[in-house]
């Protein structure tokens, strides 16, 4: 005879309502976990999208994501000639904001050379960029449709959306868009400060917009990536970072502060959940003091009483967690930023929930074990 189940069945409405409240709380914990996962995943995805073995950037910088990096456009030619490099592609990165139908549209623009490394990884719809100018592949989260035209730059050139990607956003949640390197460089020039543009127009020193942020290189499988990186870093104006180093930079440094903030919110939520669950269990136990006294009086051992409380605490935690998870999954598409709930983190949160329930039930257990069987004799209706 499962006393916990019988008690829940007897007070089903109370159990359901308590669980619903708890599921909202646990849903927020799960959601923050998803935001946390999304933050890291988006950051890494940005680097992984390029499918690079090596990132060649400006010397002494951790570019192009952690720090700004500007190198001459012909660096790609130099890199391509290094022993062990199979393919290389120049890329630029910039955040731009434009206006579309009276609403601001913010995208993270990547300029790349079609047919070379650095382009979009996978398309969900449409095609890749085929023309040299004014075509764009963009993430669905930008809310753009195939064939739609987007004005970019101060000259108002309209870029036609020819391809759509899925889940390609930056760590700050901005959708990623790809255009050709030449267009990107032109936009960088257009968006540059007017003094700088004037200097370039006059043909002043360094007057060229053939600047890129990085060269993405694929290394032959027969050559050690670190050896090629060392060879490239011998050039005084370049630094070569491996893909692993780039991912470490992104996950540990670029999003470090945001990661810590999310982590802090998560820890606070877990503490609040623990306190609330403990209070709920304590209150439920208080309601059962007379029943517990009666059970003790008729000979129930402590393990039966503990079992009753722990089982109820666990059922509350498990049902609350599952309902919270379902709520998060149902409303996930409506969240303003991408949630990534990998099975591992989902299980970790579940484990934490179970741990909280077990820890929280100790308050109720303490109360129950203190109940004097003689309380069953107290006269009341």
């Amino acid at each position: 005879m499962n006393l916990a189940y019988r008690d829940i069945k007897h007070n089903l409405l109370r159990f359901v309502l308590t669980n619903f409240g708890l599921s909202l709380l646990l849903g927020i914990v799960i959601m923050i976990t998803g935001v946390y996962g999304g933050l890291i995943d988006d950051a890494l995805k940005q680097a992984r999208a390029a499918r690079a073995d090596l990132w060649v950037v400006e010397a002494g910088t951790n570019g192009p994501f952690a720090e700004s990096s500007r190198i001459p456009g012909d660096t790609r030619e130099l890199v391509s000639r290094v022993y062990g490099i199979e393919r290389a592609g120049a890329v630029t990165y910039q955040s731009v904001q434009t206006e579309l139908n009276g609403k601001p549209l913010r995208v993270f623009l990547i300029g790349y050379e079609p047919g070379r490394p650095g382009g979009p990884r996978r398309l969900a719809a449409g095609r890749e960029i085929l023309r040299s100018h004014y075509e764009m592949v963009v993430d669905r989260s930008a809310g753009l449709a195939l064939g739609q035209e987007v004005p970019l730059g101060t000259h108002g050139h309209k870029f036609t959306v020819v391809g759509l990607m899925r889940e390609e956003v930056t760590s700050s949640g901005d959708p990623v868009a790809y255009i050709t390197l030449r267009d990107a460089q032109q936009l960088q020039f257009e968006y540059a400060p007017s003094a700088s543009r004037r200097e370039q127009a006059r043909g002043g020193a360094g007057a060229t917009n053939d600047q890129i942020n990085a060269v993405i290189a694929k290394v032959s499988p027969h050559v050690q990536v670190n050896e090629v990186a060392a060879a490239l870093s011998r050039w005084k104006h370049l630094t070569a970072l491996t893909q692993e180093q780039q991912e470490t930079l992104l996950s540990k440094f670029v999003i470090e502060r945001a990661r810590k903030q999310q982590g802090l919110i998560m820890v606070l939520l877990v503490i609040v959940s623990a306190v609330i669950i403990a209070l709920i269990i304590y209150t439920l136990t208080m309601d059962k003091v007379r029943s517990i006294a009666t059970l003790k009086f008729v000979g129930a051992p402590d393990r039966t009483i503990i079992g009753l409380i722990v089982q109820q605490a666990l059922s509350m935690g498990v049902f609350g967690y599952l309902t919270g998870l379902v709520l998060v999954l149902v409303f996930k598409p409506y969240f303003p930023r991408r949630l990534v709930l990998d099975p591992e983190s989902v299980m970790i949160v579940f484990g934490i929930t179970v741990g909280i329930c077990l820890a929280a039930s100790t308050l109720g257990i303490r109360l129950a074990l203190k109940v004097d069987p003689a309380e069953a004799l107290a006269s009341s209706g």
Binding site: M1, L3, R6, H10, R290, P301, D372, A374, L377
Partner: protein, 231 residues
Amino acid sequence: MAEPGSQAVVRVEHLSKHFGQGTARVDALVDINMEVFPGQVVGLMGPSGSGKTTLLHCIACILEPSGGRITLDGDLVYDDHWLKADLRRLRLDKIGFIFQYPNLLPFLDGSDNVAVVLHLAGYGAAAARDRAVELLNYLEVGHRKHAMPRQLSGGEAQRVAIARALANKPRIILADEPTAPLDSSRARIVMDLLRRIAVEQQAAIIVVTHDEMILDRFDHIYRLRDGRLES
């Protein structure tokens, strides 16, 4: 009724219980001696504060006496200190308790309120349910076996509580004012039932009561005053 030469199921010798120390000391029980034999129904009477409930709690092993001896069903359980480590198991095995109010578990139906004791005693689910239904039928409330406590009348609930007290076939049944919430005719029915149980199951029954109307239902009456036995 007690049979000549039979062993007392409940034997209390020189039992004392006091609360507090020094000037605050209150002697709740002083040198209590009593015996209850199989098949006997004895009454424990006295004014409020005379020590009836304290004595019942000591015999039920939920209150530790200050001195004396208690022997239950041939087992010496108290001799200036508890001799048994697991008093709850002792209660489960030897004592059935009928409360003043039924004290049924509100989340179990009639039969499960009886079966729960049997589960605790180690009965299997089917055996526990069969025995519970058998007892409820015996107490003529079998038709209410699926009713929840709040759906039972006072008399029905008290019968279910009696069935629970009898579930594990205890040799000792302690009843704390079982007729208090009942009218006189129902009180007599309950007392007749207890008599029947005492005889049929050879149990020793101790009933704490204030009710003078049921005096004729007892084989023997112990009267307490200021913690001392009068008879």
